[in-house]
Symmetry: D3
Subunit: 292 residues, 6 copies
């Protein structure tokens, strides 16, 4: 990101220093009344980000499921340090969750916020309980990603409403917060629908759903709607969709090479250091073997 930093600096330096300290601020343009009834909550940054987002195919999602998260992570370039989070428990150990992020943000409850969210829901025709909305609006292969305040935060849903979301074809749920009904969610009825949460707790949802499908925070990671989620017990990756094709290509190549390395190690012919990373001569062998 050093290159970017240089650009940013150049930009801010190019602004004239003659602008006075108390220059009047630009006026805001009025926002049309209908905006607040939009199902996609408005976010200026999301609007900017949306330009140039690539579509990710269901076939790519299937292909992603075959990789360990470490293999995909290694192919994520400068996103490696920013788009991984851990510290979740899964209702379905051993099942890997892959899909498109449908995000939602909650805030702790307070009377005026509850009332405003109810007013907005009534006006706009949705249910103010966002776990119910998710059961009406999620699409196949969506992963519902919920910002609920983390370890000290709130609960999302229970098994009945989880079933509603599953019936929409969603792939699973990531909750940066808690959920009820661990026993049911671990049962057979929810096979293929993993829920990752920070904790499991008996209480119902009390926080207020405030935005639908905007950039949110999960631990120390920013999640953008449409990110491709890959989750297992080792943690969660959020892959920007435009990177998926390249990530898969790189990860596939690494996987082939790692398999080659594993074989060499099992043969016990070479020292580990010559195998990992591949010694130039072994790399040559490896590449020849792939051409066949």
């Amino acid at each position: 990101m050093k290159h970017l930093a240089a650009i940013l600096f150049a930009f801010s330096a190019s602004v004239a220093a003659q602008t006075p300290f108390d220059a009047p601020l630009s006026k805001d343009h009025p926002v049309p009344d209908q905006t607040r009834g939009n199902r996609q909550s408005y976010s200026a940054l999301k609007q900017v980000l949306d330009r140039g987002r690539a579509a990710v195919t269901d076939a790519q999602i299937e292909e992603l499921k075959k990789h360990q998260i470490e293999g995909l992570w290694g192919a994520m370039g400068e996103y490696r340090e920013t788009n991984y989070v851990r510290g979740f428990k899964s209702t379905r150990p051993g099942e890997r969750l892959v899909g498109r992020a449908l995000t939602m943000r909650f805030l702790p409850s307070r009377p005026d916020l509850v009332e405003a969210s109810q007013t907005l829901a009534e006006e706009s025709g949705w249910d103010r309980r966002f776990y119910i909305r998710a059961g009406e609006e999620a699409n196949p292969n969506d992963v519902v990603v919920v910002d609920l305040g983390g370890t000290g935060g709130g609960n999302y849903f229970g098994d009945v409403t989880a079933l509603g979301i599953k019936m929409r074809g969603a792939a699973g749920v990531i909750i940066d917060g808690g959920t009820r009904d661990l026993a049911e969610l671990s049962g057979d009825q929810f096979a293929g629908f993993p829920v990752f949460a920070r904790f499991f707790d008996i209480h119902g949802n009390t926080w207020v759903g405030t935005e639908w499908n905007v950039p949110i925070r999960v631990g120390e990671v920013a999640v953008v709607p449409g990110d491709i989620v890959v989750a297992d017990e080792g943690g969660i990756l959020f892959i920007p969709p435009q990177l998926v094709a390249e990530v898969l290509k790189t990860a596939n190549a690494s996987l082939a090479q790692e398999d080659y390395e594993r074989d060499l190690i099992e043969q016990q012919k070479y020292r580990i250091r010559d195998v990992y990373p591949l010694h130039p001569k072994l790399r040559e062998e490896f590449e020849k073997s792939r051409d066949r």
Copy 2:
């Protein structure tokens, strides 16, 4: 909030059950391009909440400074359980901070988000570093309230940019995250400008400012722009502005009564249980004494 809950239930029950499971969703209205250049980030809930907000005068702010936070809290009714947070350290122990919340939300950094925030800032004429923006846009008696991810989160600013905010007349800063330059912020130059943070740390700001003056989260409290902030070492209150007049009235009355109780206790004439709460006869005495 039981009454409200009843209303909410009645409302959702009144929707016709004949709506099919897969009813088509309403279409979103396009948002005009200029919206994203607005300095006030758009939030549908904030728009709803803004109706009916009362102005809080500088005189009221001065009056609030005279109260202990416990006294104000006791007058906040159903907001008592939702609008208090603790766990911050102040750069200026012993100074109480009171003012109007100017909020801002940050997300952890990732390359696409950094780039989008820079694009937006360029288009719109502000600095993408929100601690710089605060030094250009804060108003007198504002308290800058920053959502930076809490204890495991990011750093906000250092003393040079803090000085910029102070020069705007802002009253102080609440950071749900960290800040640099503890030594300078504790020095004489910053008298009367307390900064409350979760931690103090040497690093610069790396998170991305994503929204300006929208509802944010500070610990397990939702903060709405314009809330009146009252902070000391005992914790932080966020008082909805429309409640301030009533809160002050109630808190003033409690204070008078508590002073009366303290006097009685020091006189050692009555048992504590008869003084706290005031025995009906003593209350009568107290009320007579106030009429004089």
Copy 3:
């Protein structure tokens, strides 16, 4: 609990304010020497609470085992916020533990306390090691509930003494503290006898058993002897025995309704919001269906 609070206030206000600050305190009545040899440790509050406790049948205990803890919790009324705790690990994941609380309280060791507990045990004919006493005094369907200081606290027992308690017919053990012998307790010999603890650790018991079958604290919950314990990986409920009949009735009704809701959701005929909670017309259908 508002109603109760009002009563309490009224009561304390009715005391005459003329009582002087330094009114002489009532004298204590001597307690007979034999009292300290009683197996049930004396607790004034327990004596008051004991009035009106309902018996819980073994059939009811069996019926409770069929419910998820969320279902029972939902039926506990004002006890929902006070009688649930989580954060325990079970030696037998997947087994639900239900029974009557036999409580015991430990304090950290100190020489005079150890000596006094030994003196008392000698006089009275019990073993000062309360995990041994439990193997001599527990009854069938008892759940031994132990206050041992929580996460930073002490260890209760090992597998040999656990076997003693199991042989008495006890249903299992809840330890707000730790235990030894995780491997054995997880083995086949202890099937049907789950132990829930905060941690597993190699050390022996060093704390001092101080009271037998009095109100104790487990995390942030007060447990009263005779409470009905229901525990699984989702947490632990303590149901006052007089509520059990009503809790079962309500939970059974909820269960029927939730099954109905699940069916509706799987049929995908209605929107989730019309199903959860049931739309009045669907509720009508549901009630008709039950009458048949």
Copy 4:
């Protein structure tokens, strides 16, 4: 404590093995009704412990105040590992608190317990709020020691009721839990009355006072009524009263020797290892110097 352990083992071995597994338990003696109205809650262990407790004079309390807690601790023999706790914050940094423990135990609230504590208070003529009772029953030089569940526990009192306790002549308060009104308690009015707590928080007391002046737990220490409390920012000691005379004697001797060692170190004549501990020849010098 090895000696004690040996005695205990010998004792339990001397019981005849012929006692059958299911020997009938001894019957409990009925406890007279008046017992529950006693101000001192009944505890069999306390009754045993009370035999042989030495009185501690106010002069001894004054003498204890002159010592650093490390010096007293070093003189406590086998109680060193069991009677020290840390992790508290004081409202009055720099003030050392010394006095006699008046203990009280709280449990988390639940409706039946609240009701029973109110019934008991009504019958017996005390206030069920134990912070009020403390303001009516504490004696001069008492230190009120409160078991309120520790870091995750409840709040004890506020400044008005604290004033009541102070007016009784109590020396201060130790709360294994929290308190309100940090600002007031830190103010001049409370000089000489330090309050040590785990945290400071705005809420009122919600837990239930269940026992008055029985052995309680503070962190990982058992506190017995009448223990001598010595507290400063370095932690808290609980000295059994019968040890006080000996502890003072030993601590005074150590203090004289440490002063001698400090002098030697400042003279820089000897190596540190010869001074600490005192080399036999230097010890001889030291003892001669004291005889003069």
Copy 5:
């Protein structure tokens, strides 16, 4: 350890007090240049400790695998309080790990340290990545024990290099830090090769291997090269090799006695207190039974 303390005191007292404060320090002897190329990092304490270390046979290692860690721990005498640690997660729940400690110490990265470790590796013919070295130098039945800073520390390796270590015949790995590739390490390929770590995380190794096979720290335990490691989900023991024969003898005896006690308890003929510990008469019976 009281006896030892007495010796130590006597020793230091025997040094003459006439040595002046500023006695010149002894000069260091130059260390030969080749020393730093030694594969076994030099540690003066290890050199002292190495005298008298007993060899542990593979047969003894097999015998140790049959014991629960509690049984071995009970036989470790004064090492019980110093050589046990817990708080690790295993990649292979249910598999017990036993072998000889091959230790290594890592420090957090800094540029000069990285460069020096690379220089040293080049000079000396090993790989500076100590997880690669372990794959070249570990011996059969070794347990690689790694000091990587604990819960907040670094990552050790991934599955490819783990395979290298496994192929050397090592029994498994203990990491006081984290590792990648939880999914692979949990897979069939690694059966019989458990890895115990504080956490699982996606990142690669970034810390610097600084010493090879010296005394290290794992949590609050000092581990000496050659210690016998015994690990399962209940925690980890480090048994000094010279104790192994005695530990096995004692543990075998205890096991026989515990089996006898379990039988007695299941017969329900005696009270638990007479069985645990064995009443003298029952012990007599037990010993007779063994003589047959």
Copy 6:
């Protein structure tokens, strides 16, 4: 560090792959017996690192004291991310500690290690208690830096032995662990001798000093003997001595520029973004002003 990484990779790739898996390892050279009596514990990496270390003058140390740690940190280049740690409490808030690191490493106690450390000390003529050794071997302007296991670790010393270290002219102490005698260390006698520790606790030192003046770990930072320590309440820096001249030069320049920026901000003539960082034209002005 990318450049370095490339070198490292190239190096390891240049090793011939023909080396067989089980190539015999090089033999270790015997280490002379006298080595273990050296006061400076032997560390191969320290030997490598020592080449090229620059001397830091007392004048430079004085100059460093004038800087805030943030200013120095900003000048540390690639060491910024690796050589800073926070989370310590000082016995002397407001005093900045600067000096040369004299490091020592402790391990948790175990009987064989205690005995070996005593044997070694006897042979070699030092005291096995490293806090005593520090009082005999520290030099003026040394900062004693102690690895004692961090938050869960051991205690270092008390005020009597601290006095010994202070009398040697040492500047202060950094303990990654705890210490006794907070009250004394905070007193006037220790003015100018700050002690930074993780916690304050009453117990004596029980860990074993194992190495003297080798690279150690403090939190997540590696500290090399001779590093320049700069500590205040904002955290601790460890500056490699060869960087000090450059760090001071850069920090002095930054300080002048920040003062210029502060002036500009107080003049309120320019927007903050044009001042921080300095707009090219303002930078020109600034540089002109310095030439005068």
